[in-house]
């Protein structure tokens, strides 16, 4: 049996282990309806398609009616709508998101192929911006309407107001084109034929600007939420009590207030993971980064609907799983062992 170790290192008792497992099971049970909902939404979307899907597959080529009806039967389009829905649900729940009209590959394999390349862009900004954002938020909350607070608020308002792809364009124009500090576009230098460490360094060099663009928006968000949450927590009785015990401001801020203030921050970051991913899709377009964004933009261009809806389902499922209070459970023991 795997041992479950809690955060402060003590081993959890049998009962606690069971309740933890029950907690996770319950959370998964809660996220299933959400995922079902997303799949139904995707199904509805596909059926909003003007005309018939077969028209898109065959394109302008003239085909015999027999072929068309065969194709319709093959795709299950001749069955009643509710049967199609059940079939679609059953397939999607098993991870079958359909086949691309264009490349004939499974949508899932196309997505999984590109996913790591996109996550590379998303992960670093997520970690760094969250850390800096929490720090700035805490700093701003210390003295409301002080110079630091106003500056932090201004930065976060501006950060909220800049479309991430435009920020990417500006970074590209200034830092890559004018100053030549970074490569202009792409994932790596294909002509240099790099290997080993040099290759990784090259990829990182290419990833800096897109990450900065994504991180800026994330930073604005985290700063704002942390500030608001800290201000609320700092006015509570137990903080006053801690202060009257004579604890130092640093202890109060970081040990007493921040722990609790992080809860809403984590939830918002969880909900906004989807926002970050969509940001990545836009930024990828600017930097010609071959991730999910490119896949999606190509799919839009070629009317490759299974790829579009497949990404919708895939990304929503990721976010749903992240959101469904696992974030809460990890941070707040009260929720975990109810």
């Amino acid at each position: 049996m795997s041992q479950v170790i809690s955060r402060n290192g003590t081993r959890l008792s049998e009962a606690q282990t069971v309740s933890l497992r029950w907690f996770i099971t319950r959370r998964i049970l809660q996220s299933v309806p959400l995922i079902l909902g997303v799949i139904i939404l995707a199904f509805i979307l596909i059926h909003l398609t003007p005309g018939d899907v077969t028209q898109i597959i065959t394109g302008d080529t003239a085909v015999s009616p027999e072929y068309l009806s065969k194709l319709r039967a093959e795709l299950g389009l001749d069955r009643p709508l509710y049967e199609q829905l059940v079939l679609y649900l059953a397939q999607a729940m098993r991870g079958n998101l359909g086949y691309s009209f264009i490349s004939r590959q499974t949508v899932l394999s196309l997505i999984l192929e590109r996913l790591p390349i996109t996550l590379l862009l998303v992960f670093v900004p997520l970690v760094f911006s969250s850390m800096i954002g929490i720090f700035l938020g805490v700093l701003a909350s210390q003295k409301q309407y002080s110079f630091i607070d106003n500056t932090a608020s201004l930065i976060s308002v501006i950060g909220f107001s800049i479309p991430v792809f435009w920020l990417a364009q500006i970074l590209l124009i200034v830092l890559s084109v004018q100053l030549r500090w970074f490569p202009v576009q792409g994932f790596m230098d294909v002509r240099a034929n790099l290997q080993g460490l040099d290759l990784y360094l090259d990829i990182i060099h290419h990833a800096v600007l897109p990450s900065v663009a994504l991180g800026a928006v994330q930073l604005a968000l985290v700063t704002r939420i942390t500030r608001a949450s800290m201000i609320e927590i700092l006015s509570q009785d137990y903080i006053v009590w801690a202060r009257s015990k004579g604890l130092s401001e640093i202890t109060i801020t970081f040990r007493h207030a921040l722990r609790n203030a992080l809860l809403p921050v984590a939830t918002v970051v969880g909900y906004n993971f989807g926002f970050l991913l969509t940001g990545a899709i836009l930024v990828e377009t600017v930097f010609a980064w071959p991730g999910l964004g490119r896949l999606l933009v190509d799919a839009i261009f070629f009317h490759d609907y299974p790829v579009i809806t497949g990404q919708l389902i895939f990304i929503s499922t990721m976010v749903a799983n992240l959101v469904t209070d696992l974030v809460y459970g990890i941070l707040d023991p009260r929720i975990r062992y109810r």
């Binding site: 309806p33 959400l34 909902g37 997303v38 939404l41 995707a42 979307l45 596909i46 909003l48 398609t49 003007p50 201004l154 308002v157 501006i158 909220f160 107001s161 800049i162 479309p163 792809f165 435009w166 364009q169 500006i170 590209l172 124009i173 084109v177 202009v184 909900y271 989807g274 926002f275 991913l277 969509t278 899709i281 836009l282 377009t285 600017v286 999606l296 933009v297 799919a299 839009i300 261009f301 009317h303 609907y305 579009i308 809806t309 990404q311 919708l312 990304i315 929503s316 976010v319 749903a320 959101v323």
Partner: protein, 292 residues
């Protein structure tokens, strides 16, 4: 006679409220600046035909002229005057965003009000639906929908509207949940008012501030969503919008910086002004914050 007296009294309180509001609002410098900025951006878009001699989407000069006096924002790859394109683009973007935010406000208010007013299993169902729409990244949902129904200005409006109501619905629900327990609601109910009357004539006016504040944020977000969608190629290329201009700038980033800088700046100004106004409204209208 009595009704006119009542109307007069109502008008007087309204005027007083507006004055009170303005008194608090103008003290907030950021909010005041935001309002001025908003007026500026709106007039740029509104008076576009008077501000520029050209028509949008027309070739008026040679391509790729860097900003000069006669073309203050340069010209694009087809020799179109960027200043004209930006003004008319802002028009489209702002119109789409305002209408989309309006749509989302109606949907959000209805769902939130019903949810909070009735509670119970209706609330449960509505909240699950809201959760669904919050978990699905709205841009990707909007993108998939527009990609399927086809890019047109009207499609953009309803798609953005129908993908961005959850925040409003959640806020309204909470307001309704707390307001419906108040004594005045009991009183009106006791007088025999029907559900619709209680919900929309008695409770809703008390939640107006939260709708107004939220709408200004929603317009700001809609501008970003609209420009993102059109940037990815889901716009009507015959009508300039700020996102379409940025999409058009993308291949020429290395040579024609002005094609990206100006449309983007206008987006930032518009969104920033609305966010600042939203913050200001929140501070001036929210009963909780006002007591400070």
């Amino acid at each position: 006679m009595i009704s006119t007296k009542r109307a007069l009294a109502q008008r007087r309180t309204l005027i007083k409220n507006v004055k009170d509001f303005w008194h608090v609002y103008k003290k907030n410098r950021a909010a005041f600046g935001g309002l001025a900025l908003m007026v500026f951006v709106l007039s740029l878009a509104g008076f576009a035909p008077f501000l520029t001699p050209y028509e949008p989407r027309r070739m008026v000069a040679i391509p790729f002229i860097a900003p000069v006096w006669s073309h203050p924002m340069g010209t694009d790859n087809l020799g179109r005057d960027m200043f004209t394109e930006v003004l008319y683009g802002a028009r489209t973007s702002l119109m789409v965003s305002f209408l989309a935010a309006f749509t989302s406000a109606i949907v959000g208010v209805l769902l939130g009000a019903i949810s909070g007013f009735y509670g119970g299993y209706i609330d449960e169902i509505f909240m699950r639906i809201t959760e669904l729409f919050q978990v699905v990244p709205r841009l990707i949902l909007a993108l998939a929908t527009v990609a399927i129904v086809g890019p047109s200005v009207w499609n953009l409006i309803w798609v953005i509207g129908l993908t961005s109501w959850p925040t409003t619905a959640r806020l309204l629900r909470v307001e309704f949940l707390s307001l419906r327990e108040r004594p005045f609601v009991e009183a009106v109910k006791g007088l025999g008012a029907g559900d619709i009357q209680v919900a929309f004539r008695e409770i809703l006016p008390n939640a107006t501030y939260c709708i107004i504040v939220n709408v200004s944020f929603e317009v700001a977000r809609a501008i970003i969503t609209e420009s993102s969608l059109t940037f990815l190629g889901l716009g009507d290329a015959n009508i300039p919008s700020l996102g379409i201009l940025l999409q058009n700038a993308q291949p020429y980033l290395q040579t024609a910086w002005w094609m990206s800088v100006f449309p983007g700046t206008l987006i930032v100004l518009a969104v920033l002004s609305l966010n600042l106004v939203g913050d200001g409204l929140n501070e001036a209208l929210s009963p909780k914050l006002r007591e400070r």
